[in-house]
Symmetry: C2
């Protein structure tokens, strides 16, 4: 794929069929949604059986990384470089219409397709794992205990280059049948958002250990998608 | 499967390999997590390629339903009764440890396996679609305009009986290496929760249309998982 392209290629695999006006292959929109979360659902196939696993991920350009124990079935199956679909969904609201049929949800989602393969090079592996902490908590790597050789060995790191991706977004009020607008039924949107709560210190934390400045963005009441969009930008 | 069993069978497909102490095949725990959300990620396979689609779902006993336009690729592919993996994930918090390696997340998730097949019988289809509105907003069916024959026709309803399912849960503080507890690093949990916002009336709503009592559970500031657990119970 041309790295300078503003859009991902669209093939039979990634073409949005259901309500295509909601779909987009624009790279900027795909990045914006990917950078607004860190938890995805990865789909892969073993012997014809699909598996969908919730997993933390991080992005560097068109590369997406995720990791886990070497014991994980998913990662064992993916070491050979197998096709995956990585989906990220942000639920933004419940859409209530004047008929059951037109009820909907507001959301932002990305389906990204590629071949997942193990990252074996120790230098790249170390850098990528540190990048995950950096992406979530810019500055935290300087404070935590550094990764140990046996931890590096115990961690399987997977990477995939996005071959195709589609963003899908729905916003706004319900769209009812014209004749239904006259009905005396409440219609509108109930917003939903992932919100940060007050930090809970580890019971074994030494008294008077301050909350570090790199956690300032995660203030009580903040929206997770905005925090993560901000830390992604800060991490560079 | 024995309907009276408290646990789903565990086979190679559903066995929890990664940190098995976090896994459970107990039906009550699977139900509790499924009833705490309505948005899942469904994995299916076409020609060896996995697809993961975010979709609304609802549960009746061991049956899970979801729907969409007949135009949807996913539903076209699934009409024959194909293997799917339906995953529901609730993110509960970010877990910050004293080393990058032990960072984690708190969550509740279910992976449910079964064969998805089209529900064609019109009576069952009507009942199931009404059950979706009822599950989200108990009482709302009596107020909205009833489903029309052409809408029923345009909607593809999929159902699957849970053959196997596994719940996985992580709660609590980070688990650090013993020697790391002495480090002067803040550690703990940053809670995350899906929270309801203030309702946004449709701009075309007739003035003075009241917010109906069936939306009372969706009050500003409530947690979506608690609201949905409550409405699932109220819907019966």
């Amino acid at each position: 794929m041309n790295e300078m392209s503003n859009r991902y290629p669209v093939t039979n695999r990634s073409k949005v069929r259901r309500l295509p006006k909601r779909g987009s292959a624009e790279r900027a929109q795909v990045y914006a949604i990917l950078d607004a979360h860190f938890l995805c659902h990865i789909g892969y196939v073993i012997d014809g059986q699909p598996y969908v696993t919730p997993t933390g991920y991080w992005r560097h350009g068109d590369r997406i990384y995720w990791h886990g124990s070497s014991a994980s079935r998913m990662l064992r199956a993916q070491t050979a470089g197998i096709p995956v679909c990585l989906t990220v969904t942000l639920l933004d609201g419940l859409v209530l219409a004047r008929s059951g049929f037109h009820h909907s949800i507001n959301y932002r989602s990305v389906m990204a397709f590629g071949q997942a393969a193990k990252v074996e090079d120790l230098e790249e592996k170390t850098a990528a794992l540190n990048a995950y902490v950096q992406r979530l908590y810019p500055g935290r790597n300087a404070e935590v205990r550094a990764i140990q050789p046996q931890e590096l060995k115990a961690t399987t790191l997977l990477g995939m280059t996005i071959e195709e991706a589609t963003a899908k977004v729905r916003t706004g009020p319900p769209i009812d049948d014209e004749e239904d607008y006259a009905l005396p039924v409440w219609a509108g949107v109930i917003p939903v958002r992932q919100i940060i709560g007050a930090p809970i210190a580890d019971p074994r934390l030494a008294p008077a250990t301050p909350l570090p400045s790199h956690l300032a963005p995660y203030a009580d009441g903040e929206a997770l998608d905005e925090v993560l969009s901000g830390t992604a930008k800060a991490a560079g």
